[in-house]
């Protein structure tokens, strides 16, 4: 039986549907990210799995067993909160030992396990410190250690890294992923940071307005977004309104050769900035003028105007000297890099 299953989950707050008919299944031992903008229902979904909210309807199954009526404290899961929620009146060691003490473990057994967990999060010897003596990154690790103290069946994290600075966040993403792989624990992380979701997870679930937009492997969702929303939310995307034309898809800036648009009028094409090649020649199927050049170090972002359509393209740094603001260029937009959404309004 698979790890966690959500079946037709609804959650209403008054007249607002926070979670609107979500079904998904999470295989045992996988790392899943619930990804979406704030207010999309991802945290509510996580809180229902944890038992901190009750679904209005639908079932939550863990290894085939219905979890709905089990109160939070009997669900045997570990959760890391956005605020970390470390207990201020307890020392680091007492915080980690809290779930063990609740379950009646002896002081010696607790001490042994606390040492083990502190080694696991690479913070040996801090058991006697107070929470306020730790840095943000250290507190993060303690919260993780506490959530994993009883070896739960399910590991839930709500925006766990949002309070850390960029560099530490990247390091913790890698560390969290390695820890999850070592323990083989089914893990669900809520985040609004698409980079975080891409780098950590086996599966991502992109959500918007209480619904699942797409779920699958991160790179799959990035290369083949199911909806314009996913294309736009995962990384950068150019969403261009096109119509079927002679020899390809026509838009205000020109024609994308060889691209077949079945839907006729109102179709939308998504193409990633890195798939667009900017060429110095003034002749080609798509003409554009350079509006702005943004040097990012590893890449250069070129903002273009193609007949009123705003397009972003990426180029390697050494070539960008050719593109001055105001100059006219031609764009190569390969049909195989485009994803077509027919009739769907963005």
């Amino acid at each position: 039986m698979s790890g966690l299953q959500l079946v037709d989950i609804h959650k209403r707050f008054g007249s607002v549907a926070a979670v609107d008919n979500i079904s998904l299944s999470v295989d045992e031992g996988t790392f899943v990210c619930l990804l979406g903008p704030s207010g999309c229902g991802k945290t509510t979904l996580l809180r229902m799995i944890a038992g901190l909210e009750d679904p209005t309807s639908g079932n939550i199954l863990l290894q085939g067993r219905r979890l709905n009526d089990t109160p939070a404290h009997l669900r045997n899961l570990g959760m890391v909160f956005q605020s970390l929620a470390l207990f201020p009146h307890l020392s680091v060691g007492e915080n980690i030992a809290y779930p063990l003490r609740i379950r009646g473990k002896s002081k010696a057994a607790c001490g042994e396990r606390v040492r083990e967990l502190l080694d696991m999060v690479q913070l040996p010897g801090v058991a006697d410190r107070t929470i306020t003596q730790l840095s943000g990154g250290q507190r993060q690790r303690i919260a993780i250690a506490r959530a994993l103290a009883v070896s739960p069946q399910l590991f839930l994290l709500d925006e766990p890294l949002s309070a850390l600075d960029a560099k530490l966040r990247e390091a913790m993403q890698v560390e969290l992923r390695q820890l999850q792989q070592r323990l083989g624990i089914t893990t669900i992380v809520v985040t609004h940071d698409q980079r975080e979701a891409m780098t950590m997870s086996d599966q991502i679930v992109v959500m918007s307005n209480g619904k699942v937009e797409q779920m699958g492997a991160p790179i799959e969702a990035y290369r083949r977004p199911a909806t314009p929303f996913v294309a736009d939310f995962l990384g950068q995307a150019n969403l261009i309104k096109v119509a079927a034309g002679e020899g390809g898809a026509r838009f205000s800036g020109g024609t994308i050769p060889g691209l077949d648009v079945a839907g006729g009028e109102g179709a939308l094409v998504s193409i990633r900035p890195e798939d667009i090649a900017v060429l110095p020649s003034e002749t080609g199927p798509v003409k554009a003028s350079v509006v702005f050049v943004r040097e990012m170090g590893a890449i250069v972002e070129i903002y273009l105007d193609a007949g009123g359509e705003r397009i972003v393209a990426h180029a390697a740094p050494k070539t960008h000297g050719d593109f001055k603001v105001g100059s006219t260029v031609s764009l190569s937009m390969p049909a195989e890099a485009c994803v077509v959404f027919d009739g769907a309004g963005a």
Partner: protein, 285 residues
Amino acid sequence: MRRSPPQKLTDYLPIAFPAAMLGLFFVVPFAIMVAVSVFKRVPGGFYEPAFTLANYARFLSPFFGEVLVFSLFLAAFVSAICLLIGVPFTYLLTRLRRGNQVVWLIALLGVLSLSEVIIGFSWSTLLSRTAGLSNLFVWLGLMDRPQSWTPSFGAVLTGLVYQAFPYTVLVLYPAFSRLDPSLMEAARTLGSSPIRAFLNVVLPAMRTTLLATSIIVFIFALGAYLLPQILGRPQHWTLSVLVTDQAIYQSNMPFAAAMAVFLVMASLALVGLSVAISGRKGAGQ
């Protein structure tokens, strides 16, 4: 946030005004009271400057000892009951929607606008045999015949708790509304039932606030002099009642001052003791 301590004399300027006010209206009158407490009473008159410890010696009697012990006991009892009701009440209050919280707080502030005299006589009526609550209970069939519940220790306690309860909630409220709700939720996901989580996470995390509140209510109840007279028998009179009695009805200012000074010292000692005890406990953890 850390700031550097004041360096120059002018850095202290902002506290000059409050310091002057505190000195003028608190320290000076208290010093006068201490001085008066060693003065000699002039029978039929007022008092004259002297240095005598006779006023203090007078309450080294079993009678005053008993009154002092009763006063401290009553204040501690009131403070315990207020916290016992006030803590769960305030916790649940902060979990309500904002609009409902305001309604409850306004109702509590309403109690504060009542004068002590009105509170005393209202409870005295409510607890009386002729027009009191017991008539309601008889009508409901809970009692056989109306009963008088005042004057009694229970009546004094009820009146004082009623009066101190709004203060309890108002002191607890800011701390409880700042409490991170995910502390409680974290405790639940870690295996604590809601009640257990409240007892072993919320209460210990609020330790300092609880101590501060109990001290405030304790001192508030220690100063009560009207309610024990209206709702109690003479054996329920507190030291504050005796101070009033000596100062106003017996015109014995020196003795009243000596009792007042002693009351202040006794309560300061108790507060110091409880802070020291909790401080040591806090450091040990």
